[in-house]
Amino acid sequence: MSLTSERVEVPADAREFYARAFQERWTDGLPLLPATDDAVDALLDASPYPADHVVCVLPPVNGVATVELVAVNAALAGVEPAAFGFVLAALEALSEPEWNAFGLTTTTSSVFPMLIVNGPSRDDLGIDFRAGCMGGAAGRGSMTIGRAVALCIRNIGGQRAGETTKSVFGQPARTGFCIGEWEERSPWPSLAERRGFSADDDVVTVHGGKGTFPMADIHNDDARDLLYLIARSMAYPLANMFLGNVENGEVVVAFNPMWAERFGNIFPDIDDLTRYLRDNAWQPIDLWPEANAKLLRDRGRVDGQGRVHLVERPDQIVPIVCGGLGSLHAIALPSFGESTMQSKPVVRPT
């Protein structure tokens, strides 16, 4: 295939290439694989699009992400050709206007694209959804797809800490976050199925997540009590969703398979589950000091019982099932608020 991106002569030695990547500002700080023509061509062969097809325009600097340039970054991250479509799908998703990439790539917040994968290719590609799926499991798919998307935002979008993004802290996910859902252990339809896709589709959903918010319990065997505590915990007083518009954004909550089974027994219909979570994700207005409370009252956030709900609608709480069988834990992925999650199918050559 005829490549058009600029050719650069670099050291063949791995350590010297790593040093050169710093000089060129190509790296997120971790070592990279060289994006040779062979590596890039192999990725392009796995795409249904021509190399010059524009996937999206990436903020903050509005760099044009052609399939070729995305492939170059995917090669740096070590993406397998079979996984390249997941990178493209993620970029297509986060460039939907309602994901608000321009806002999210420039904000003071830590928010970053968090990729949730559904579909039959999870195991084949090493997309982690079992023990340690949010860090430590080390599946090639999870680590390389997430990182390729992050490198595209860095190298094509031009996102640089302290320069083009005002993110105060950043977060570990800024080098990539990609997990799967353990669909086989979920008592509910998968996230992708709930969003209109078939169980046979490989789908990437991109959530603007501020980080991983851990929750744990060993003291209560009642599933309804546990869900109540999870809901109340997600409604922490300084959550972004108490700052902005109640109708915007979603909170993802990851249940381990053991807890999911218990929750599925009492809420076999996920709509009933999300309604219960929404109804219990609140804090009393008295919790906030007067300065905060006044603004919440002025914005109509306080209901007749003196409660301030985290979200307006049940669909703004998004359960998924993943993680190990050790039980005891749940993780929320809190929202930036002014962002709506997007899903795209993985498209392969016909």
Partner: protein
């Protein structure tokens, strides 16, 4: 090529060509003009300053239209952007703020661009910490010459008296950037 080197492809995007949309000046006295004031409900300090400027503008013979924004996506954002579009059509010039966080600076610039696209004078108000970011955003959306007025940082947590003094001190600069003539 040396045996100690290999060829790779550069992963960075070619910077877009420098494009700069025109800026505009009032070039007439303030009296009789209609000036738009865009606030953001997130920032109490900016509400204080813009309220004072609103009073000064009316004192100096202008009509004012103030709108408050507060959303970036969804139905609330669609309403905000519609109001900005309407404001841009109604006013002779506009003051748009406040950039004192990353995404709010981005949307301050985007809303100021809407005014410039109506060929009206506009000044974007940002705090010092976000100056470079504001200019970057303006450049990347093709409005690198946009008027940006930089206020001290941080504004939040200052006593009201200090905000009132800042409003007084910077009002003449706003008029200068809008191109108000005497």
């Amino acid at each position: 090529m040396s045996t100690d080197t290999i060829w790779v492809r550069r992963p960075t995007a070619t910077p877009a060509g420098e494009v700069s949309a025109p800026t505009f000046r009032l070039d007439r006295p303030l009296a009789g003009c209609t000036i738009g004031l865009r606030t953001d409900r997130a920032w109490r300090s900016w509400r204080t300053i813009s309220t004072i400027w609103d009073g000064y503008l009316r004192r100096d013979g202008a009509h004012t239209i103030a709108i408050e924004t507060g959303a970036q996506v969804g139905r609330p954002a669609a309403g905000d952007r519609k109001h900005i579009e309407e404001l841009a059509g109604l006013v002779d010039a506009a003051i748009v703020g406040l950039g004192t966080c990353g995404s709010c600076t981005t949307f301050t610039i985007k809303d100021a661009v809407t005014v410039e696209e109506h060929e009206k004078p506009v000044v974007a108000i940002v705090c010092e910490e976000f100056t470079v970011h504001a200019h970057n955003v303006a450049r990347h959306v093709g409005h690198s010459e946009m008027n940006v007025l930089v206020l001290p940082y941080p504004l939040e947590a200052r006593p009201v008296e200090e905000l009132e003094q800042i409003a007084r001190d910077y009002y003449p600069k706003v008029l200068e950037l809008l191109g108000v003539s005497s």
